[in-house]
Assembly symmetry: C2
Homo-oligomer: 416 residues x 2
């Protein structure tokens, strides 16, 4: 068993998945855990609640060493996973008094009466091991079938993930089933196109696996990984490859982070330098500050923001003269400079950022097209201004503006 | 064929899916289209790029009348879907000069030279029909195999969805393969728990299928649908059931929308009544206004917003006296009233909204716990104040606050 790759398949159960009503996040979640143990995931299979389809599904993936199912363990008529599994094994289900006691306890703690329908969840298969579910009524089930491992888990991630961490992974680690572990490092690269990425990766040594994923938020996630027995060796190889890549990115002045989100990184840099920031924005509609505020504790580094949509509000609150707006236009470097300096005064912050731009789809002109953005960062009484021309729809332009601002802010904070 | 349910299966190809690196949205997207045609989706299967695994995958779902694959049509070594399909059919691939010409044209328009590697994408199977891809280099392929329909589509949704709409659905509609169509209505219900939902649905007539899906954004999506031959009859049954449900919701004063997002609905109501709104917020960090600004054209109904985090900024910009903050606390009905009235003045809008609260995880006290929210809507010189106590993490509390504010705003706009 140790000499060949251990394989796993995941079955997600639920007619709603097949109807396209809900998206299956479980398969991806679970795969992430398995791959770190060196297990080769062969199939993700989604199947309806129908008992015959379910039995067929178990047959379709029966060559896998490990099978994990999610869903179909509830109390309703639609919940057939245990029944189908028992039929597949040619075993009978029995009413498990101990399991019933546990279920009653669960309801007792919630001060509710247990419905009769829950009796279904107390059905068990002889020879199985029950997997405790602390976040719901559906117990999981583990079954060792001639050396093949079956894990039946409930559907909701908040129930199956703790069970995965506390039971499944432990079980897999304790047995011969663990393959070669995977060592992985992830970096996020901003402002790089596909062909330029290929260029960066061209002469990198190829003894690690390098995967890249274009993220909707406007960056590339680079996964550098290696599977093997010797942890020190793996780490050494992956880290060396990562260093090589970072050197190339540094040379080309391409921005990347070590698997941090930009808002988190910005928060840490602001905290580190004990500075506060405020935002004046006429394009992102408040999304810039909301990204900062996502991070708990952000009130320590963020004093406030103004979203000025009417020209009137720019003049009154941000104290930008009508003449400047007339001369340069509301979307201009000049206005962004005024905004940055004035918002800093208004909110009494160490850093002020002023962002103007045209998110579209309307409002663009030949001279100032949709996607044009000017922003200024006022820091240590100096102004740093930037011009950007983004392409894409409204949402992408807004997201790219936020990324671009955060990157320049982080760079300026790193400088000091 | 017309008397039994037509079945389909979807194969998504890509090792990244099995490694949990990317989430398969294609299966769900495609299922949504198929179910509307009355086609019964039997399996979603994800499989690696490995050619043998791919052939096995075609075998596993060969009982389905329709098979749609996505992915593995690119120019690299990993792209094996066409090759595996040809082997599965026991056919040979040939280099298609016409396809090659089309690919060259695609590059010519982009003013780029076509790489040699793209020759792989010009390979074809005799007897197939090519599906044009206007958004990428990977052509799709349709094959009628003894009455079974195979559609091979590229992986990116922006490529496969147009092909699905323009080719696949037309093909299915034009042949005997179309089953009984589905008629469906969707409503979004806010502020309702699971047990109360069961209560609402208890005595509803059961001749339609009713599915409900708890959405992370804090609402329940209710899908009322019916499959059958007679469109008028279907429509009549679904609409009647929907009316019944709406009556029950109205009676219990539960808010719902006809498949509109709240921000879109609010935008329409504001536009309809020719009014503008401005926001002063100390909890959501700008997310309220960013939700409004998501809608193109929002500058017509939104004049601006202030996110005041420091007490100082509340006093200075929103003109709230230190005494009021001292006496009532920054999170209070009184402060939210002042904010609503003053932000209206600052941004010269018809409606002002002031929102205060504690998003957590820190900052709560026994008297004012995490999740406490006060907000006030100032409209027609009247103040409408609301108190809410939400549970959940920071993100959920922020999202529930936004939903709650938008609902009360919509209700007040409806009143007039």
């Amino acid at each position: 068993m140790n000499d060949r790759q251990v394989t796993a398949s995941i079955i997600t159960v639920g007619s709603e998945i097949l109807k396209g009503k809900i998206i299956d996040f479980n398969s991806s979640n679970i795969s992430n855990y398995l791959i770190k143990l060196g297990i080769n995931v062969k199939y993700h299979l989604s199947v309806s609640d129908n008992i015959l389809d379910l039995i067929r599904a178990f047959k379709k993936i029966e060559k896998s060493d490990i099978v994990i199912t999610t869903g179909g363990l509830g109390p309703t008529d639609d919940d057939n996973t245990k029944k189908a599994f028992a039929e597949y094994l040619n075993k009978k289900l029995f009413f498990d008094e101990n399991l019933w006691k546990e279920l009653k306890k669960y309801y007792f703690i919630k001060r509710e009466n247990i419905p009769e329908s829950n009796k279904k969840q107390a059905m068990n298969i002889k020879g199985s091991e029950i997997i405790e579910n602390k976040n719901g009524t559906a117990p999981g089930l583990f079954y060792n079938y001639n050396g093949k491992y079956y894990f039946l888990l409930p559907g909701p991630p908040r129930e199956n993930i703790p069970m995965l961490k506390k039971f499944v992974i432990k079980k897999l680690k304790s047995k011969k089933y663990t393959g070669n572990p995977l060592y992985e490092k992830i970096i996020k690269i901003y402002g790089l196109g596909e062909s330029n990425l290929a260029d960066i990766l061209k002469n990198i040594n190829k003894n690690c696996e390098i995967g890249y994923y274009f993220k909707r938020e406007g960056f590339i996630e680079l996964h550098i990984s290696k599977q093997g027995k010797n942890y020190t060796q793996l780490k050494e190889m992956v880290d060396r490859t990562l260093e090589e890549i970072k050197n190339k990115l540094d040379k080309k002045k391409i921005f990347y982070t070590d698997n941090y989100n930009l808002n988190k990184l910005l928060f840490l840099k602001l905290k580190e330098s004990s500075r506060t920031v405020s935002i004046a924005d006429t394009i992102c509609g408040g999304k810039i500050s909301s990204k900062i505020v996502e991070i708990p504790g952000s009130s320590k580094v963020f004093t406030g923001s103004i979203v000025a949509y009417s020209n009137n509000s720019k003049i009154e609150i941000l104290d930008i003269s009508q003449e400047i707006i007339k001369e340069h236009g509301a979307v201009s470097e000049k206005v962004s400079r005024e905004m940055a300096a004035n918002v800093r005064n208004v909110f009494d912050s160490d850093i002020g950022a002023g962002i103007t731009g045209i998110a579209g789809p309307n409002g663009g002109t030949e001279e100032k097209p949709v996607g044009l953005v000017y922003f200024t960062i006022n820091i240590d009484d100096k102004n740093y201004s930037f011009k950007r021309e983004f392409i894409g729809d409204r949402k992408r332009i807004i997201n790219k503006t936020i990324n671009s601002l955060f990157i320049e802010l982080i760079k300026l904070l790193d400088k000091k």
